[in-house]
Symmetry: C2
Subunit: 199 residues, 2 copies
């Protein structure tokens, strides 16, 4: 017999659907909300419903967007002539928060993975093709992850850019800042050496 | 400028009120819910509202309770003559899940802590006194945590039991099962030695 009442069970089960939350954390969250954060729980419930009802995807860049005009698809950003392609919304946020880049984005919401049935259609690449055909893109920056699938996706995207005579760049991969050569994995070190630049 | 739209900001802020969730986790949760778990998000929103509206405290034991009759305050449990006192709901669940104990409970929802303004009133001790006066309690089991405040609380509760000629017991503290003496802290080891039992 579960030691929880039905509604408590339901709340704990619902909390477990959050990423990284197991049974113990879910119980702790439920008890915390009921004991000390009833206002917070109500705010969370309202914010969830509100977000689901009002946050959609931008028609252009596929980033989460709640208004008609996506903040990342402004004419001002298009003027830079730069289009950065990332795998997910978190990647966009990371670039936006930590770099001075202020060009436009295209969020794939995934990566090419034929084994999972994710092809160019699922990533919205026809729409990306139309965007590239529009003529304002002068540099296509590929910021997919340096994984096997991310690299394959980057290769495919590079072909799309080259076919339209657009300059294609890939973000640099190598030894992370503050990292120590001694502890860097073999693949990264090999990549860093072969990708060396003249100073 | 925050890289999130207003509703997304609100959702992330609300998720941060969950215990153990910082800005990065909250962002990850929000994106995960919006990208892949919209059903889960809706279920969570509904479960939160439902729980807040319908889960209250039991009049008797102070545990979370959603029905008129608290499952932990049954006549059957009272027949054992045992009353176990714990600091919080999670402690009750831990005992219920991991031990054969099936007596009644009293949940303090805290511990005596004069410095934080938590006295006998806040812990519902007058109600506990009335419960002890009712006459069915033959053993008062003190399962507060072995911290300074938990010990002080246990001491106070023991006095309440003794004043009514009720047998008072304290759960055992010592070397945890599977633990190694070499690595056990000094206080626990001293406690284990002074609390040795004849075999």
């Amino acid at each position: 017999m579960t030691p929880y009442s039905p509604r408590l069970t339901r709340l704990i089960e619902a909390l477990r659907r959050l990423p990284g939350v197991g049974p113990k954390s879910a119980q702790r969250m439920a008890f915390h909300l009921l004991e000390r954060e009833r206002d917070g729980a109500r705010a969370l419930g309202a914010a969830l419903v509100d977000a689901l009802d009002n946050i959609g995807r931008c028609e252009q860049c596929r980033m989460f967007c709640e208004d008609q005009a996506c903040r990342y698809c402004s004419a001002q950003r298009a003027e830079t002539g730069q289009l950065c392609i990332v795998e997910g919304p978190a990647d966009l946020v990371a670039i936006e928060q930590n770099t001075p880049y202020r060009g436009r984005y295209f969020v794939l919401m995934g990566r090419l993975s034929p084994i999972d049935g994710v092809g160019p259609e699922e990533l919205g690449l026809p729409r990306l093709g139309a965007m590239l055909d529009a003529g304002w893109v002068r540099e296509l920056i590929l910021a997919t992850n340096p994984t096997v699938e991310g690299e394959a996706t980057a290769y495919y995207l590079a072909e799309m850019g080259r076919a339209r005579d657009i300059r294609v760049t890939r973000i640099a991969h190598g030894v992370p800042m503050g990292g120590e050569l001694e502890y860097v994995d073999a693949g990264t070190l090999a990549h860093a050496l072969s990708g060396r630049r003249s100073l």
